[in-house]
Amino acid sequence: MATLYEGYTLCGVGPVQNSSNIGILGVEQGRDIDYVLVTDSSRSITVYKVSDQKPTGSWSVKQGQIISCPAVFNTQSQEYVVVTDDRVVRVWKEDDVNLEKAFKATVSADVLRVLSATDSEPVVLFCCGAVRFLDSLLASPQQPIEDVLTEDEIIRGEHCLYVQRFNPNTLVKHRIETEPGLSAPISFSATCRGSNIHLLYLYLNGSVYESVLPFRSSSTGAEGVQALSCSLCLSLPLGEEKLMSGAAVVLDEAHVAVIGFPHPSAGACKDYLCIWNTHFQTLQASKEMAGRIYSQLWCYSGKLYVPHGKMLSVIPFDCQKSSLAAAMGKLKQTSRSGKDFSSDIYEMLTCKNRKTCQNTFCLIFKPLQMDCSLVEDVQAEVGEFIRRAPQADLQLAAGRVALELVSRSQTDANFYPQCAFLQLLETRYLCYSVCPELLSLAMVKKDFHLCQIAFQIFSDIPEAVTCACLKAILSTPDLEMETVNLDTDSVIFMKELTQAHSRSDEEGGQLNGFCPPALESDVSDTPSNKLQRDPLSLDMSCPVGLHKGALLNEVLQTAYSDRSLLPHLKDLTVPQVIVFLQYLRFLYFKYSHDAHKQIRALRTPSISQIIDWVCLLLDAHFTVLAVAPEAKRLVFDLHKFVRSQVKLYAELGKIEGSLQVLKNSKQSEDFGMYAIQVIELF
């Protein structure tokens, strides 16, 4: 459930001067998350400390000059950057008082925007579509600027998206494919999640489309216009009134804040700020905005900046992880004692998030930019990152890093930083759902060590994946398997288990004091039949290699629900099932000889896990096993021990009454000198 908290006014919005009816040119992140840079459409740039609602610095241009794009803060050089009169780039520092005395450079083409990314050099986007790094531009301001766009195009023009990449400098044109008849989107929002850029477009008809654009396009050299598919993720309700404008901004992967569209239950009034859940298409929170709406919306570090009426409001929000229960409002809200308190906490949280993002992205972008960076470098860097990052940040960051590495490994066949993955796994902050591709990647790479660690650490592996892994393990030949480097503890366990067998054989088949349970009725009834050895001691050799056994043990210990596992188990081939069953039988026999109890191992499959898997396998392949001749002996053996178990429990059932009496015997029956009772004899 998302929440919009009580907002407060940051500043007033000056009188509208220009024709575009926009009072504020832009709100940008300042030097810190608590600072924002507000560029109004008059002539001034003001830095506000958000939590204090106070300006800490203000600069303005001379009369007659126009600020043509919102000022940004260059985090690299700790300088402010603004463009005046379309071509003059001005750069100044916090303590510069007069903007006129600041550094100025005139470039050769009209600048549309200066974009600042955290921890990277700001980029300058020209009206003609060209993009330059600010530092390179300022080094030679008069360099020629090429025309990227054709003459009849302007940025934000038609349904096209241009994506330019540096190093190598590529340009891909995408045509946004939406339903025909739609005009241009009225608002964009782009976020970078994982290895993809998520683009969100808001159309006037209330549709919100999303496109996913991979960072690394496969067709690098392809010229021409590529089609960019987009999916409708939200349909906003429309009032009767015809809408002219609106804005949307992505809050997180499931939430989007929309302004300028009517509240679905509040009639046609469109002065609402709403948070929608795109997964479930539900309205999560809304707030009525007094005064005129400018269809402008910014979002920085957990706060929405909304100009409305004559003021710029800051509205903190909170989006909880989207689950169906939360979306339907069914999830219990953690009680909050007071708003001030909660907003404090909120600030802290966002503060942390912010930092993490900085670290993470700095780390991820670098390898991306250096395409040729080696696996070793990545591993060293990941190690450094894990070592340095604070625990709380690591939890979020580890997943993202892993995601990045996996996606790169998937595209780059030579890139497989196993050590980095292991390091990330060892943080224990990863789970399957954080990085679903990791396990399948490991399977593809036949990295059974990674698989084993993942099986040990992940508690949420889907049954289908478990089964796929099981299949991969069973289909790998033992010889190949033995070369795999595995967790020593598990291998030692297997070694001991198989040796316990040979040792007990040397001692004459039985451990000291062990008395084999009378398994078969025919054995126990006729003592002359003693020649037939204890059936448990038959065929006690391990049917699989040590390493395979160790891996299978890990599979046995994973969590699963039998109903979902059963259909996937049917994918196993009959030889695989037989080998697996034989191994399970081996384990069971070992366990019934108490062999495992002498082995000190951290992780061992429990006897109930073994039995459950036997049952599942038999359930899944019963008909096949019943007719397969090579399975006959196995099924017969299993049948025998089921019979012995049934017998044992029947015997236990018989003494149940005695045990009950033992339990009740403490309560002495003192009835005095005389009583009349009823006894029953059977």
Partner: protein, 687 residues
Amino acid sequence: MGEFKVHRVRFFDYMPSGIRALAFNRDIERIAVARMDGSVEVFHCSDRFFQEKIIPGREQCGIEGLSWVGERLFSAGLNGGITEYDLTNQKVKYTVDAYGGPIWTIAGNQQGTHLAVGCEDGTVKLFEVNEDKIQFERNLDRQKSRIISLSWHPSGSKIAAGMMDMIQIFNVETGHSVHRLLADRGVGTSRSKECVVWSVVYLSDGTIISGDSVGMVKLWDDQTGTLIKSHNVTKCDVITSYLIVPLEWQNEDSLVAGTSEGTVVQFQFISMVLGKDDKEWVRTRTFKNHTHDIRAVAEITTAVVSGGMDAQLVVRPLLDKVEVRSAASALRKIHFPHRRLVSCARKSGLMLFQYPGHLELWRLGESEGKGSSLFVKRNPEKLLHLKVKGEDHIRCSAVSPCGEWIVYSTASSLRLYRLHCDNNNVSITKISKLPMVLSSANQLCFSSDSSHLFSASTQSSVHLVSLSQSGCKFVGTLKPKSGSHQAIHLLAASEDGKWLASANSDHEVHIYNLQTRKAHCTVPVYSSAVTAMGIHPTTNCLFMMYADQQMCEYSIEQKQYTDWSRMVQRKGLHRFWMERDTPCLNVMFNPQHPSHVILHDTYMLCIIDQSLPLPDDKTQFYNQLTLKSLPEEQRKSHSHAFKVCKTFKDILCVELMSDQSLVVVERPLEDVASQLPAPIKQKKFAT
């Protein structure tokens, strides 16, 4: 199988009497037990310690010693008399006054010619044992203090006598004292108290072993009169007047001593160095099976038997002497007599409790409601308290099935009463003018229609008396064909009034036809004593339980064992059944289920369903709990003929009333223990 309504009765205040003396006869393997109340019992050591004979006691007859002379049993007591018992008819044969005041000890010589008694006046009196009586011969030199204990030298030429503070050795020929051995008193506060030599044993090599009140077992040399060795047996530092160390020896290489703390200590004459001949008396084993002081010990062939104030006879096997370990050689504690002390009027819900000196008649309570424990609507009530006339204790008693007649017999008299129950008024009238033959009875029994009384008399005969409103009339005497004159201890009459079975101590079971009043047949004699028997109401088969836990069913009409009985003998009984250590004391039949035989011993109630298969040794014998937990349809396959109910403990009597309810008379041993005098206080830790 079935439900039974059970009257659990615990208000029979039977108190077994403490054991005062034991005497073992190796030749006939019998052990005689004298109790505080003057009764003497004879147990058969090789027949699972079955209590063969009971000679009831008398008031004021404190027996202090027992002695076998051949197969004759003598006792002497504080009343100053020496008594010989008629073991055939289980009664006192005669009593001879020794004229020496209370007698503390009696000892017969091994030759079987003389009895010596130690008297309060300080004399040892010698009696010659004649064919039918004993004859006073002479006194040995009179001593200043009472003679507490006596032991003959095996040669019969010397007698050692334990007294206060000393032991005197007499030459039997001259009657003079040969040696005087001074026993040390205890140390400390006990210094002022006399040391009582409670027990002496004279061994053939001249060693005299004494047990005294200081708690010492001392070994003396009769040649030099010196102390060889002394063993402190009890750690009891509280000197009481009752610190007794009775001694008993068997083979001159083993000796047992009992203490007032309830322990039995064994000493053995063994060589200290293996293979060498110089043997010494060494304390070897300690048993503790008693809560109270031990007043008598006896070492029998394979076991140590001890008895004392806690009234239980404990047979502790010496496992080194047992060849085959079996149920017969297990530790055995005999708490209750092997006779029935309760008889029930089946048709009127009355119970007759037999105490030594009185009878109590109770009416059972009534219940209502359902469940496992029923609400008692009417409490049981005591209708009658009948005191015995005279000093003799009751030997046997019976109430008729209809509840109208009560009969009891002492050693000297038999009394028959008629009971009138008129709502709440209960009155009895004594039937006078009894026939002469009814002067005394060994066992009494009514016919099932209460019209006849059967009285077991001397020479294994049974007198038949008809009862009517006007009185009773002697009808006839049933005499066995065989020559056995042993007393009858069991009688069983058939439901149809046609047959009567009697069992005597010679293990003979005679069956009489009551219509012809002739002996019908005799059941083949079995080596073990019959402990209970009953005649089946419909088939007229006699069902017998033996002391060795065997069972037999004998068809009276066909004069042969039944097929079922033969099958039981052929297949053998279950191990657990054979290992029970108390005899079955009653055989009952359920008219509604003719195949059922109901049995009980002290610890269990058992219904044998003759229609079900017998259990073999692999079958679970005590399977009631198993069957209870099984579903109905599976029970059949798991059930066998023996349905044992262990709900009840310390059972004195079980009877099936005519309304199908069971009466179970229990006497919990805890209740018995709580009525015993406090045992000797022992210091525990530093309190």
